[in-house]
């Protein structure tokens, strides 16, 4: 029934851009939450309640998307008609893939190290550093309209974000 046709940026009232002021995002989403939350409609008819759930879900999804650099980058490309979720045909530089394999090997060996926690922290710091560089790269690619390059950058970010998850999982496992 409901057509929420605006994109997340328009809906939340921010310029369509990779660079986002996080505190502004938080402020605006809070204002909108106050208007749209189902609690505001609890005493009204089912229709209003249903609508508010839809709007609020859209808002929450939007906030989650814009808050995460990877999701934000993917979303910006999606607005340009590039679906990085399902598409995996973008070629990736062999050098990058080699590096990924090395990082993963390092991760696998961590549990056998003398001080696995220190190793884990080093690896995490390194990966975070690479991610930071990729984010800057993406911002530049996107701004210059170099969408193919931007897509490849996003693919690289996906690899590294996955690695971060695996690092955190290993940390949980070491904790026990």
């Amino acid at each position: 029934m409901m057509d929420i046709s605006k994109n997340f940026f328009e809906f939340i009232g921010l310029p369509v851009s990779f660079d986002i002021d996080q505190s502004e995002l938080a402020d605006r989403s809070r204002e909108l939450q106050k208007k749209l939350h189902p609690d505001r409609y609890a005493h009204l008819s089912d229709r209003e309640q249903r609508m508010s759930v839809q709007y609020m879900s859209f808002l929450n999804e939007g906030v989650a998307t814009l808050r995460s650099p990877l999701l934000r980058a993917q979303y910006l490309l999606l607005l340009q008609g590039i679906d990085t979720e399902s598409e995996s045909s973008t070629p990736i530089a062999p050098m990058f893939l080699m590096q990924q394999m090395e990082l993963r090997e390092r991760l696998e060996e961590i549990p056998d190290q003398d001080d696995p926690y220190a190793e884990l922290e080093d690896l995490l710091a390194e990966v975070e550093g690479m991610l930071k560089a990729l984010r800057e790269q993406f911002a530049q690619d996107y701004q210059e309209g170099a969408l193919t390059a931007a897509t490849e950058t996003v693919r690289k970010m996906q690899f590294l974000e996955k690695l971060v998850v695996e690092i955190e999982r290993l940390e949980d496992r070491l904790d026990g």
């Binding site: 029934m1 409901m2 057509d3 809906f11 009232g13 310029p15 402020d27 605006r28 809070r30 204002e31 909108l32 939450q33 106050k34 208007k35 749209l36 939350h37 189902p38 609690d39 505001r40 609890a42 005493h43 009204l44 008819s45 089912d46 229709r47 209003e48 609508m51 508010s52 759930v53 839809q54 709007y55 609020m56 879900s57 859209f58 929450n60 999804e61 906030v63 989650a64 979720e85 399902s86 999982r169």
Partner: protein
């Protein structure tokens, strides 16, 4: 003015009348109901002046049942038919019950779905039914005291309650004929009772030592929004365990043989009384009579403290873990709220104060504080305070996922995501010609499905035969503001779809609930028709009033004169229908008016978004109205 003529004779509710709404604390040991009266939130006592309703139901062979203190007096003499601590069983399957061990002394009967029923003299009772009986007692108490029918209720649940437990609680309310305005987390309710939502922003700890459970919740208040950072505790540790420690000691001292439920419950009851005395006195004397033998023993506060100290220490360890999970230090905690009758025990207060290095809030009766907070929110949600800025935001406590190949969990909605939320993910078939796909919904943080809690299974059928990987199945998870999950699956190339409101495999199905509701009306068939009509009228009223309010607020602004007139006449039509007694006609009228005003409703939503954004900066958006 057509708009003002609407509260006509025959219409029961005038717009803006104060709505009767209550907050209900459905507790493990005791339950309470509270309401905001003349601006003050108070718990409502029964005719005898008792505020606490023991969460005890006794079922009798004649089919009747007793609720509360009277039922509890049979706890020792008729333990099989006297159901205590039913909250522990809510949303639980038979396999979970085994882990509860001796705590559930009832005889269980299991239905096909693995749903446990308690065997009683009045027949098999599900935990949901038992809870519904407690809720009904509270509602009738409130309706008598407030002098009218309730618009709705806010019911509190522990912050860690999973989907199955929340759903079971909501089912109990449905069965008791209560409109649930919201399920509210207990610690949030306690913080609201102290007005902390209006206070300084920061971290709040809610220490809740109830009769049978201990919960510690770490909340963060940020710009008027409560966020549950972490929860911890021990679902098998509470005031009862303090009683048990004392009872064991007494039994040991007096060489009493605890055999059977009766003696142990009797000793527990006596220990409980002694514990309460010890909150205000330095010693207590306990007189006992077991199998005709009279005995007496005195226990000092120091001895009691020594007996319960290991238990209190356990709660403090749980506090430490919860802080760690929330990534905050004890000194970051700005406020500490005490909840639950057992926080009256001086040693508990002392240890909590020491651990957090600040005075905990104890001004509001710790038994009542959750219900009081819930009633404050109920008052707002019922629409009695249109200007209130209060908004309680929630996150889901556990991740929601789906089973994928190899018994692995793929998370669709991660824990701590703000709700309500909807998220979709696409899957495909893995075999050529596959025409059905099983969808298994799970909740939990672990990688293996077997380590997570299974919430529901359903099958999407009728997928046209295609090569493996060609079908595109979009699975959407929608979590509402109460944290309840609905799952929808759709094959995108053919449009085949299927959806389910997640019901735990061991919960009550919608059909079962409808059956139970029906059977509760069996005695009065007319009553049932009346109620159906009444419900339909309430529905119609809600739509009428909200549209009238809307038209006054912004109708002229958002509708052109023709649209405005049309809507007005549609409203008139429904008012006429609503004053009649044709159930089906009213139902159709509600649907028609809903449809006629859909466009207006969405314009209003968009308008309020625009207004919210405008509050920020018109310049940046580059557009204004």
């Amino acid at each position: 003015m057509a708009l003002l003529q609407i509260a006509e004779p025959g219409q029961s509710e005038a717009p803006h009348q104060h709505k009767l709404a209550v907050g209900i604390d459905l507790g493990t040991t005791n339950s309470l109901v509270a309401s905001v009266k003349s601006g003050e939130a108070v718990t409502i006592p029964d005719i005898e002046g008792q505020h606490l309703l023991p969460s005890v139901v006794r079922y009798m062979p004649c089919g009747n049942h007793l609720v509360g203190a009277e039922a509890r007096t049979y706890a020792a003499s008729d333990p099989d038919n006297t159901i205590i601590s039913v909250k522990r069983l809510m949303g639980r399957g038979v396999s979970d019950l085994k882990t509860l061990g001796d705590e559930a002394p009832y005889q269980f009967d299991v239905n096909d779905g693995g749903m446990p029923y308690i065997k009683t003299a009045a027949g098999n009772k599900s935990p949901v039914q038992v809870s519904a009986d407690i809720l009904k007692a509270l509602v009738s108490r409130a309706e008598e005291a407030l002098g009218g029918e309730l618009t709705g209720a806010v019911i509190t649940v522990p912050a860690y309650f999973d989907d199955a437990q929340r759903q079971a609680t909501k089912d109990a309310a449905t069965l008791a004929n209560i409109k649930v305005l919201r399920l509210l987390n207990e610690p949030t309710a306690a913080a609201v009772a102290y007005g902390l939502d209006q206070g300084k922003e920061g971290v709040i700890a809610v220490y809740d030592l109830g009769g049978g459970t201990f919960d510690i919740s770490i909340l963060r208040l940020n710009k008027g929004v409560f966020e549950v950072l972490s929860t911890g505790g021990d679902s098998a540790l509470g005031g009862d365990d303090l009683d048990l420690a004392l009872a064991d000691w007494i039994a040991q001292q007096l060489d009493i043989d605890i055999d059977g439920n009766s003696v142990s419950r009797y000793l527990m009851e006596k220990s409980k009384q002694a514990k309460e005395v010890l909150s205000g006195a330095d010693e207590a004397t306990i007189d006992l009579e077991i199998k005709g033998r009279k005995q007496s023993i005195t226990v000092t506060r120091a001895k009691f403290d020594e007996l319960v100290s290991p238990l209190v220490k356990r709660t403090i360890r749980a506090c430490r873990r919860a802080l760690k999970d929330a990534s905050v230090e004890a000194e970051d905690v700005l406020e500490v709220v005490m909840v639950g009758g057992s926080t009256r025990v001086p040693l508990v207060r002392e240890e909590v104060k020491q651990f957090f290095a600040r005075e905990p809030h104890i001004k509001i009766d710790p038994d009542c504080v959750v219900a009081v907070g819930a009633s404050i929110q109920a008052d707002v949600l019922a629409g009695n305070k249109p200007d209130s800025g209060m908004l309680l935001l929630d996150v889901i406590p556990l991740s929601l996922g789906i089973e994928t190949m190899g018994g692995l969990t793929e998370k669709i909605i991660h824990r701590n995501t703000s709700i309500p939320v909807a998220r979709a993910q696409e899957f495909t078939t893995y075999q050529d010609g596959q025409t059905a796909m099983a969808i298994h919904v799970v909740q939990g943080e672990r990688e293996l499905v077997s380590d997570c809690r299974s919430l529901a299974r359903f099958v999407l059928r009728g997928i046209p035969p295609m090569a493996a990987g060609a079908a595109k199945i979009r699975v959407t998870y929608q979590v509402d503001a109460d944290g309840l999950l609905g799952v929808h699956a759709k094959e995108l190339t053919s449009g085949v779809e299927s959806s389910i409101q997640v019901k735990p495999s061991y919960g009550l199905g919608d059909v079962e609930i409808a059956e139970m509701l029906k059977s509760s009306y069996l005695n009065a068939a007319e009553d049932k028709d009346m109620r159906a009509l009444r419900e339909q009228q309430v529905d119609a009223d809600r739509l009428i009033v909200s549209l009238q309010d809307a038209l006054i607020a912004d109708g002229k602004q958002l509708l052109n004169p023709d649209e405005y007139k049309l809507l007005e006449s549609e409203i008139e039509k429904l008012i006429e229908l609503r004053n009649g007694s044709d159930l089906v006609a009213i139902e159709r009228g509600v649907a028609a008016l809903s449809k006629a005003s859909d466009e207006y409703a969405s314009r209003r939503m968009d308008h309020s978004i625009q207004k919210a954004l405008q509050g920020h900066s018109i310049d940046e958006l580059g557009e204004s109205e």
